[in-house]
């Protein structure tokens, strides 16, 4: 009788502290998302929830519907959200802790945009500069355009 009570008590203590320990271990700190310069195309809350819809919608419009004047495109997102290192060089947006990677790591959602798309902005280089040796190191710039033509509403499921 006494042994059984002792075992139960021991187990309870184990479970109690085990739970505390597991809870502590399981807490992943909410990522510190680097802030961008300028204004976003949509309110932050909406962007957090709907940015993939917007990106998909805009990509279809640019690639397939010839709406090349869309400024709310991925390259501009990157240009605005990119961070620079101490030397002033842009840090790839999908690097650990950077704008895209910070959240995507936290929520465990794989993103494959950057298998193809550039991770740092770059100013279009003139062909004359390209021919020289220094053309490739052209700096990037924050796009002048702050977007106004964001869609009025983003419907879920639309691509």
């Amino acid at each position: 009788m006494k042994t059984r009570a002792l075992v139960i008590a021991g187990l309870s203590v184990l479970i109690f502290f085990g739970a505390i320990w597991a809870d502590h271990r399981g807490t992943v700190p909410v990522p510190l998302v680097p802030t961008a310069q300028g204004h976003c195309v949509l309110p932050t809350a909406l962007m957090r929830r709907e940015h993939m819809m917007l990106l998909r919608q805009v990509r279809e419009q640019i690639v397939r519907d010839d709406k090349n004047d869309r400024t709310d495109r991925l390259t501009n997102c990157i240009a605005c959200h990119v961070q620079t290192n101490s030397a002033g060089a842009p840090i790839p947006i999908n690097q650990r802790g950077q704008f895209c990677a910070a959240c995507h790591t936290y929520v465990g959602v794989h993103l494959d945009c950057f298998a193809c798309h550039a991770t740092v902005p770059q100013k279009a280089v003139s062909i004359a500069n390209l021919m020289g040796t220094k053309g490739e190191q052209a700096a990037y710039s924050i796009p002048r355009v702050i977007l106004q033509n964001a869609p009025a509403s983003l419907s879920r499921g639309h691509s």
Partner: protein, 254 residues
């Protein structure tokens, strides 16, 4: 869905955000035939629109092989630099433009000129693409939508100009204006980003600045454009004109 080919579209259960009646209106406007099989299932047959029907814009190139010389590769290096392509050509890297030297065995006449995607009006790559990734823009530029490309390489087989490449290895340091990645087909884009900015493609600019001024870019359908006037001035041809693909790249002196 483009109206480039005759296709039958079965419109089964209406999808979300899809208005079948609007679709029918488009089909009818395009001179098509529609047949309602059962309620909710409609077949549309669209008429073939031939690419040479004059659109306001059709971008093209004119390459003067009488000016192009064998030693010059300004166009090739400019393309590689601008679009971030590998300079080392292996079977799994892409090549958008290459220099070709041909000799007539009977006369010994030798010509050197660049060959790239010919941006055909009747593009075979577009015809064979199973996912609709290969497509032709209304301005005549033939592109790959890499979001849809599954890397089947049918287009590589179909293209008589061997203009398409398959990217077989992980790509790094892409240019923002030229997204490229492993597992997709790609070809010359006629530097569509530059063209949209009102500039000539990188190869044409490089040829003018560092090369032999052998390339002209412009709107083939604008009679006032330099390219249209030159095409009207002297005889030109397209490579394998016998195939009837109506390429947008014209050659002089071959």
């Amino acid at each position: 869905m483009t109206g480039d080919r005759t296709d039958l579209v079965s419109d089964a259960a209406p999808e979300e955000g899809h208005d079948p009646s609007r679709r029918r209106l488009f089909a009818l406007a395009g001179g098509a035939v529609a047949a309602v099989l059962t309620p909710g299932v409609t077949l549309f047959a669209r008429t073939l629109t031939v690419g040479s029907g004059k659109t306001p814009v059709r971008y093209g190139l004119l390459i003067d092989s009488t000016r192009c010389t064998q030693g010059c590769d300004a166009c090739v290096t400019a393309c590689q630099d601008y679009n971030g392509l590998s300079k080392k050509i292996t079977p799994d890297t892409a090549q958008w433009i290459r220099k070709v030297t041909v000799t007539d065995p009977q006369t010994g006449l030798t010509r050197s000129f660049p060959v790239m995607c010919q941006h055909c009006a009747q593009a075979t790559c577009v015809d064979v693409c199973p996912t609709g990734a290969s497509y032709r823009r209304p301005d005549g530029i033939v592109l790959v939508d890499k979001h849809r490309c599954i890397g089947c390489r049918y287009c590589l087989m179909a293209c008589p100009y061997k203009a398409r490449s398959f990217v077989g290895r992980v790509v790094k340091d892409q240019k923002p204006w030229a997204p490229r990645g492993k597992g997709t087909a790609e070809a010359c884009t006629m530097c569509v980003e530059r063209v949209m900015d009102g500039k000539a493609p990188a190869c044409v600019t490089a040829c003018a600045e560092r090369g032999k001024k052998a390339m002209v870019f412009g709107n083939l359908h604008d009679p006032k454009s330099e390219i249209a006037q030159k095409l009207a001035q002297f005889p030109t041809t397209t490579i394998r004109a016998d195939l009837g693909l109506e390429p947008g790249v014209h050659y002089r002196g071959i």
